[in-house]
Symmetry: C2
Subunit: 441 residues, 2 copies
Amino acid sequence: MKEIGIALLGMGNVGLGTYRILADHARDIERRLGARVRVRHILVREEGRARPEDVPAEIVTRSIDTLLADPEVAVVVEVMGGLSPAREYLERAIASGRHVVTANKALLTAHGEALFSQALARGVDLHFEAAVCGGIPIIRTLREALASDRVSSIHGIVNGTTNFILSAMADEGAAYGDALAQAQKLGFAEADPTLDVSGMDAAQKLCLLASLAFATRVSPQDVHVEGITSLLPVDISLGREAGYVLKLLAIAQRSSEGLDVRVHPAFIPSASPLADVRGAFNAVLLQSAALGASLFSGLGAGSLPTGSAVVADIIDICRNLLAGVSGRLPMLCPPYLQEAPRVPTVQRRGPFYLRFSVSDEPGVLGRIATVLGEKGVSLASVLQRPARPEDPHATIVVFTHTTREQDIQAAVQWIDALKSTRAPTQVIRIEEGPGVLRAGG
Amino acid sequence: MKEIGIALLGMGNVGLGTYRILADHARDIERRLGARVRVRHILVREEGRARPEDVPAEIVTRSIDTLLADPEVAVVVEVMGGLSPAREYLERAIASGRHVVTANKALLTAHGEALFSQALARGVDLHFEAAVCGGIPIIRTLREALASDRVSSIHGIVNGTTNFILSAMADEGAAYGDALAQAQKLGFAEADPTLDVSGMDAAQKLCLLASLAFATRVSPQDVHVEGITSLLPVDISLGREAGYVLKLLAIAQRSSEGLDVRVHPAFIPSASPLADVRGAFNAVLLQSAALGASLFSGLGAGSLPTGSAVVADIIDICRNLLAGVSGRLPMLCPPYLQEAPRVPTVQRRGPFYLRFSVSDEPGVLGRIATVLGEKGVSLASVLQRPARPEDPHATIVVFTHTTREQDIQAAVQWIDALKSTRAPTQVIRIEEGPGVLRAGG
């Protein structure tokens, strides 16, 4: 039986998951492929790192040169993470004519275009399914299944850490800090959770999804990003009373004016299929011209789910190798990526949730309602709650009709400057878009 | 720009959808492909059929010979439906070296192995994404994304007509006949709905999904099939009171003993992601070793969703043509398909819902409970409701703990023979499996 040699760069969580799936499913994979996949080298960086029992010592190396010098290595799989030396190693692998697989979204977001261009020029494949939502084959879906269609919007829950924290806050009424600590204890959040809770991790994934779906370059600086650190349990429970669930959404939306790309907490209707996506699960809801709505959901991270995506990419490249081809799929660089107009998020039109913390005195609601009216903000419902022992301020909550975001901003700026306002106003967008699975684009 | 010629066999709903997507998305497709797809012929059978304005007269033909004699036709797309002459036409297309796409699940279920074997021998591709759940790229997912994994179960809502009817019965308390009539009026059910409501359509789709997922031949005669025609609104409402939603499920489950493949109405927990799949939508929930649970949902049928799947297949084949390869993916015939042990559904173990129609007299519940106990059926909850004006019989409803199906059958046979039993007992399986998205296989 023909054998295809591969090398893994990295023996962390994803590297081990990849290695174990290749070992455990070897017979199935041979049958599907008609060839054997053999891990010839695993590159490790830290000398002291314990080698798991199921990894033979003779395939572990600390030298990228040894690995690249082996002519039997046809595919190089980068699962080490970080920008450097991952970038240099991938560049050297591509330059040497190796096909490459990477699970490294940070690297692709920062230097993807250079890497894809290099791979295109060298005639090798660069696969990256595992870089976005490990357990969901969304890259493959956008690259292949949706190649026939015209995507109009992406609504994604693409960060398991924040989804876990928001689920815990909703279920247990936990404060953000407590929910974060719980997530850290259970291994769903890192010691330094900044990348996740700031929304930046979701933004990186969204860049890759939106670039692919809309065939245009989307960089992190194009994305309007808000994290979850300022959310309070009271927002979640007030939203729930009105029939909404709070999620950190990654959204890309194409209109006749251009593309709006953003990551922020949003209220979605509790009947939305995204509302049921809980804990460590991810989901992506697409709207496209021919298919209408389609939903893809699965585990977003983890050794085996992400490893499974890496192995699917390896199999795909092996199928190409056995058929003697490469470059079947478009690369995330020109000519596939082209310029397209952008719409800043401040031009978004949609409903909003506003929570005002005010002094408990007569006339406050009147002043706030007057400012909102003057700025053209139309109210759908209003709730006022007096000061309570645990909260010395009165609370006014407003759900608006569809409003221009810049009008909301102007009104809130004004209201936050009022003497009766006791804390900055909480502003949360309401997204009705992913409401229910609807037919039609 | 290079041009790839294709021919469509059929100008019905799916044929027109395919033609229109190729026309409307021509520029996007050119960009993704680096080549132009041109429809050179559309084969029609009925002379009298009106030609839509957007289809030029010169590409419409009634001769398969003319079409196959055109050397510029590289891909033949069968969207005519039916077994004959679709089979002969596809065989002739394959024999002449054309790559083929088909949306014809009935044909693939009946004669797929012969067609796939022929394509394999001739070295051409045979793609069939549109044959199962038009708007969900589930064939591609199983063929490619899951190639790295080991699927343990499939739970699918794969028939939009029955899902629409059951949704209407649940929402409006409509009787089966009224809900069917409504579905027919709205175009969600055919004049002769037998194939759908009997579960046979779902069984055909399940055969293709299970063959692919488990790499073994699954034929309709291997599938235990029950339809929805005997379901009553009272079953739906009694199930709902216990936290269940009634769906027609297509299930394939692999255990150490073998593969169990079945289509039947089932109660699933209302928290299940499948419970929210409503109306014309389809969904497939996979459990696999590495990925854990993953869910795919979208429109199951319709001109554009199905056409979109056909066009995705066309693009895939064009990518192969441009790269000069074929046969990258396994064909649904040996050597990919191999023998695997089967488990008859009667060996299933799981909970059940039983509704007994009995005479309203003392001692009946005692007799039924005694029979159930003697047959080893353990009860989780019991509800007894007296005769009412609209129903002259008393109703006893039992939710069982996990039970062997053959024990249930033996008990029900016994109970249905009792003098106090007024109508055949309604037996509905409860599937906790697709309860919630869970981690792990």
